[in-house]
Symmetry: C3
Subunit: 363 residues, 3 copies
């Protein structure tokens, strides 16, 4: 049983990671080599020479083509072999798989499934990562767990209290009521904590950005976009200034500070993943120190998660067939899992599932 | 085919290892977390949270209860969940397994089998470890082999000549005759070497303790207690002073020095074990230097065994189905293995075996 | 399906590696301990004591016999047990396997198959390694790949252009025509590059040895001897001085420099090998600096191969069932593989294959 759908855009690299050299990376159990053409457009090829399977990433770039580091076969960006050593003609069957690949919102995205379905409009919405009015930075970490454990983790922030008690967590989060909703492609968990004393992290942010130190209205709006992207709209505003808004209509957040934790988690294998995250904010846009501090602060928090996630993966491996029970706090993760499962099932039986789950771009 | 019975007390920790923090340890393939309640009594729980399987040992103690380090579920010392985050009621099925556990003779013992059979009187007899008139010290080492290879090793001290030639071994041991006997639960190997020159180790002990440097009567009385405890009564006395005694009646050892090598080897997995040992003596009781020297001396000897045992385990893995032949020297080990096998068989078919092997406390 | 024949002499050690101590080495998946008797003749025994399987290599030599490091059983060079501890008689079945073993051309050779077939005349021809008129040196490296990948590598020197571009490789090799021939036991690939500018390595050699710096005739004559030995006759001579000779008759190489790359690759397991190589030359025989320089230069080149070969092995493991296509350049490797396959098939069905592939000494 697959652990991920193949027909999806997966983040393969930060834009700045990819240049004029060969970058090997495993995505969804597939070894892929990435590079940029001279015009900057990204290429993604199967990372195994057609001839003797040597990883092409051990070869070298020559213009827009890759030369294998063993016998010198040359492949172009479409994966077609254009030169063989010691012979005039090239075997027409000689090629390696080329993957749809594009760049958007500061990530290079690859589509490991059916190329005919690779609609650029389906790239997950992470626009805060390169939009005016927002600034921030992020990292890529490698985690030895099924990517879905990271999703579970992000869909329930109760864990902040216990895993991150020293920084962002406090009892308020674990005890605050929340609302979980879902659609065909999204699942959200919304939690408002109104009129509370902010935890140390947020107290510092609002004091620095707005010079305010009193009670706040705090929010966490977690939005999952199938199969593996989670954005978390977080922030605090002066208590009672209307940040919450009314049903469906966003409130006035001008008296607050707002950030988005952007997460997209790409399966490397069934039990390991590439976890790309960034923290974008809408305040103190030009203070590099704040950017630096936030990036390192979030990195510290995610290292705490990493240790929990990897221990959890080992424990799951030790308990094959274990039946998991859901608590109230698992509502969001449960819906995320269902949307993932439907996508996987759709690929196992496309006809039936195609009707039930139209994959369409976000409106 | 199981390599160990489950219905037995296994040493899980030295008493001093266990305090007011969470100690994870795998016993008989089961991951267990140990801690002490505020009153000092030990607790042993399955080391996996009921909810998402995170090891409870990654959480923290709160009074007599454990708080899971992921979502904050709380379990008491009986394994029952007493608190869940963000909800008022607790799912009544929420619990983790609690194991019978007790402390005796300086070890914490756990019973991984049927709790109804966990009779405290069945704890192996290692009373020399905390009795007046005896003193000593020991260690815990981790060995990458089936615990039964350690038993084999201890049941035949011929190996001293070849593995420990530089310290306690000499030709006298390999060539001395021995007597092997057994019962339902015990197997013994007795070897007397009378009127010999003591090997360097014992020569030093008797000279220091009794100011004696001549010929000695030397004994090794190995007693196996199923399934994994071996005590070795060792010592030397002035030759001809009657240390041996007559059939069944211990002799006069007042002109000698006597020690007990106490060994209990707990299966960690089928191919790794926790080896607890101590050396207790009845002489120079208040000389801390002697205690220290003996502990480190024995530790050095056991490291030689460790290297042999781990090589042997790898060799056995390399030769599946190999038929082992027994030599005369294997008589004791052979009986120990039979008693272990009967206990394992008894658990596979309790009705039949229950009659043949009553498990009862030592008289 | 076996990856190597068992009825063959395999290099187990350089002559100087083996002395009066116990050398453990795995050959063709078999753990073997090697040592020399007091008279210098080599012995090869199964490296596992008959009694409890401890590697005999953990014991010690006593005269021409090995004493097991656990219980002291003694085995002679024929593998027969000659002593058991604590007993007068020795179980007549107590023995370990002894392998045919001999020394020739500076290697110790072992025959892991049927001892009745171990004809000393079948040792591969590596006489340049200890013949008058030749000098050189070599090394043993351990490579994590099927030994046949090393054979493939040596049978096609096109790879020099791409793997060793900085030293011996240039476009001339990849583009030069070659001739591949084969017999029952040998396969050869001959490549002449006449009237060319020598690559840096050969330019340096001929300048130093002959004071010549012009155009050269260059040759590479690769000879495979089944199942795992490859000699490469390499060199350059002043262009147009007749080095090539005519069909079947060697030319005049007196105006050139000649070397032999001697390679014999012994399977350790199905996916690892011991790669013994040496470089022998017929010029500057007494210049130790040249010997040193050549040995280290070749070692550097082979490390480049090692990295490619190990990556290729991992890639093959990742692509079970992959269909490999041969290019023109693969002709020599293809024949080498066929000769190996026939030897393996012959052992699977000796009657049929025995006729087709008489194993006989080189003429």
């Amino acid at each position: 049983m697959a652990t991920f759908p193949l027909n999806a855009w997966y983040a393969a690299a930060y834009d700045v990671e990819l240049g004029r050299s060969l970058l090997p990376r495993t995505i969804c159990n597939q070894k892929i080599v990435f590079y940029r053409r001279e015009d900057g457009t990204p290429v993604a090829l199967e990372d195994a020479c057609w001839h003797r399977l040597l990883p092409l990433s051990m070869g070298r770039l020559e213009g827009d083509e890759v030369v294998c580091g063993y016998h010198g076969l040359v492949f172009n960006g479409s994966g077609r072999c254009t030169h063989m050593p010691s012979q005039e003609s090239v075997n027409p069957s000689a090629c390696v798989r080329a993957y749809p690949v594009l760049q958007k919102h500061r990530f290079v995205w690859v589509w490991p499934g059916d190329p005919a379905l690779a609609d650029p409009a389906l790239v997950p919405d992470l626009h805060w990562n390169d939009s005016p009015g927002w600034t921030g930075d992020g990292k890529l970490i490698h985690v030895n767990c099924d990517y879905r454990l990271v999703i579970d983790n992000l869909m329930d922030l109760t864990h902040e209290t216990f895993v991150h008690g020293g920084s962002i967590g406090d009892r308020a989060v674990a005890e605050a009521p929340f609302v979980a909703t879902h659609g065909d492609r999204f699942a959200t968990v919304t939690r408002w904590m109104e009129g509370i004393q902010p935890p140390p992290f947020w107290a510092g942010q609002i004091r620095h950005a707005r010079g305010y130190s009193g009670a706040v209205d705090r929010w966490q709006i977690i939005r999952f976009e199938a199969p593996c992207t989670v954005t978390i709209d977080v922030g605090v505003a002066e208590a009672g200034t209307g940040a919450r808004g009314s049903e469906g209509v966003p409130g006035d957040r001008s008296r607050g500070v707002n950030g988005f934790v952007l997460n997209t988690i790409t399966p490397e294998t069934d039990k390991t993943c590439h976890y790309f995250w960034a923290f974008a904010r809408n305040y103190c846009l030009h203070e590099q120190r704040v950017t630096h501090e936030l990036r390192e602060g979030v990195a510290r928090i995610f290292r705490e998660d990493e240790s929990v996630l990897e221990a959890q993966q080992r424990a799951i491996d030790d308990h094959p067939g274990y039946t998991f029970y859901n608590l109230n706090i698992d509502a969001g993760a449960m819906w995320a899992r269902r949307l993932i499962d439907r996508r996987i099932a759709a690929e196992a039986s496309p006809a039936a599932a195609g009707r039930a789950i139209p994959i369409r771009p976000a409106a």
